[in-house]
Symmetry: C2
Subunit: 110 residues, 2 copies
DNA sequence: GTGGCATACTTTGACAATCTAGGTATCAGG
DNA sequence: CCTGATACCTAGATTGTCAAAGTATGCCAC
């Protein structure tokens, strides 16, 4: 199992995707890179995790997608955070904070 | 889904169980109560999650179990952290910290 | 010009962990 | 006696992530 790379916990991926899109429109492959980069290489999202997650998230209306050609001249599917997505990001961040707090409390017990 | 209660993320339960056993021998039902109490009612572990988890953990040698009768005069299965379990707890805590750090970094991005 | 690598997307199947919901049994209190 | 808390167990459904495969394009080195 994971050595230097932290493994993702189920439920955290959506938040990471939404967060990275909150910094600006981006395509799938770019999301993976952005997350890796922002986390100092600690988080590595697999393509097989990302694309299904994006599909899920799009279905829920948290992002909108469109095909476009970017600077490199290649086609890519660009995702953009919707208003609902921004709201969802806040919700997920809040519940992440709550979880971290709760676990911290348990861990502080002596 | 969760309102005031934070939902458990997959992978955190083992750590919570090991941690609560690190405070002393305890039986299954008591583990649930201890986690709930230590987390200020934020974490609620379902029985259907706990018992399979305990079985799993016992198989891995992180805890040892024995039936006993406790103060209330009732039978219960008491679990105790083994040396390997203590080691595992450290490992899980470290990787939890790493994950929290990584996610924090992503979230701090502007 | 072709071979390899990074980019970019998709799909399938396996796997693991949690939850829901059911079951059993004992004990205490009203 | 009945209910609720305690105490354990199990089956099945659900979900999310991952591994592994596939397709296709553009770029660079040789």
């Amino acid at each position: 199992m994971a050595k230097n790379k932290a493994e993702l916990l189920q439920g955290t991926l959506d938040m990471l995707i939404l967060k990275s899109l909150s910094l600006g429109e981006l395509h799938g492959y770019g999301i993976i890179q952005r997350i890796r980069q922002l986390s100092d290489e600690m988080l590595n999202v697999e393509q097989g995790s990302l694309y299904p997650a994006l599909y899920r998230i799009e279905q829920k209306g948290w992002v909108s997608a469109r095909w476009d050609i970017h600077d490199t001249g290649r086609e890519a599917k660009f995702y953009k955070l919707t208003r609902a997505g921004r709201k969802q990001l806040e919700t997920e961040e809040a519940s992440w904070d709550r979880l971290v707090l709760a676990i911290t409390k348990v861990r502080q017990a002596t």
